[in-house]
């Protein structure tokens, strides 16, 4: 079961733009742009979902995902996506990543972020009931 990180707009980016940029930079920890092939230009680590009414984005995350750290990792762009992060926390996360061969994703979640489960997301309107799922062999689809 996925968990979620709701990504607020920050640093001049919309929520959706920032979520995409964070996911992209998480991919670059394992495959820095300096070593990427052209076909990797759009690759990212986690997918995202968009709130149907607010337009807010949330990353669909896997807490125990193992991130392999490339020796050529450059965290500059990832750091820039967290302008509100205290410097001490930024330094600690940077050191953890750059001195490790692997990190679990849950180890590098900033304290400003809150992890939400599926139930929370459903209760807060992220996944409104799907007419498809009300179908049984005896009940037609409910049209919207």
């Amino acid at each position: 079961m996925s968990n979620y990180l709701i990504v607020p707009p920050e640093g001049g980016l919309t929520s959706e733009e920032r979520a995409a940029a964070i996911s992209r930079q998480l991919y670059c920890i394992t495959r820095p742009e300096s070593i990427q092939n052209p076909d990797e230009a759009s690759f990212n680590l986690f997918g995202s979902t968009i709130h149907p009414t607010t337009g807010e984005a949330a990353l669909s995350i896997i807490l125990d995902w193992v991130i392999y750290v490339n020796a050529a990792v450059d965290l500059t762009e990832l750091q820039a996506l967290f302008p509100l992060m205290p410097q001490a926390e930024m330094d600690a996360l940077t050191t953890l990543i750059t001195t490790s061969s692997t990190v679990l994703f849950e180890q590098i979640i900033p304290t400003e972020c809150t992890v939400h489960d599926q139930a929370y997301m459903e209760a807060n309107g992220w996944f409104p009931p799907d007419p498809t799922e009300e179908l049984t062999e005896d009940v037609d689809f409910i049209e919207e």
Binding site: S2, T30, N37, D39, G47, T132, L135, F141, E144
Partner: protein, 328 residues
Amino acid sequence: MQGTAIIIGNMIGGITGGGGAILPTFFILGDGTIDGDNIIDESGKFLVSELAPAPSPSPTPPFTGLLDTYPGAAAGYSLRSLSSTYTGFAVKVQDNVGGATLDVGFNSNRELDTAAIAAYGGVNDVFVETWYDQSGNGNNATQATSANRPKIYDGTTGAVITENGKPTMEGNNAGWLKTSAFTNAQPTEYFVVTRVEATGNWQTFASIGTWSSPDNRQQLNVNNSNKLVVYAGANLVSSTVTTTGQYLLNITVNGSSSAFRSNGVVETTGNLGAGTGTGSDLHIMTYMRSLTSQLWRGNMQELVLFPSDQSSNRTDIETNINTFYSIY
């Protein structure tokens, strides 16, 4: 005419090419004498008794794929070769430990080159980033997000994942792929080789179109009662409960003449509605509306879409597929 004789040892006599035969190239590892059409040793024993050309090896019969016999598919995805004219790859794969992507084609049997994947993966899992379209239409299905890619190779076992002995890719409630937008207007027909995991969850193995404003989707599912459900504005539901296992599913989306078949048997017929499947990508192993909550839990080996009614070919296409996969 004469060919060439390379003799390691001593040779007595000359090559005459008796009877006007073409002399092939040959090698003799020992002393020998050319005697007419034969080569003999010192005791008169034949070393080589033919100077005529060696028989040619039997020519390999030309490959004929599913899409050679039944052309015109809108898209064809498979882990076997579907067409003699398709010269591209089967899949593009990547591990999650820092490897670059790798395009993987077919072996001499026209099946997925599993040795190449194993050599690439080693002890690491490998996932599918692109499932190439073999129809010639370029409708490749891709997944740019590492965490959402179907798994094809298990680094722990050191083997490509298989279903009934043939390579497959696992959805496993996480992996899915999608194309760029293409039209899949009715009548259209799907042929799918997939493993169903009958878990009592809603799952979608293919969807195309938009789900609202307007709802023109074509959506192929298993529902929470483990029944096959197809929707294209109206729905058809199988009469039987699907159990866990490998299936060949055929879905005809054609208004009031729609139907779907499972393992060569008609499950149900009726009106599926007018869903045109336009305005969105083809999603494989997920539902285009809720990409994180209605994922396919089984695996998939082949998906072919025809933009036309295939009633005259349907049984033969199923036979072609089943002959390869031995599903039923």
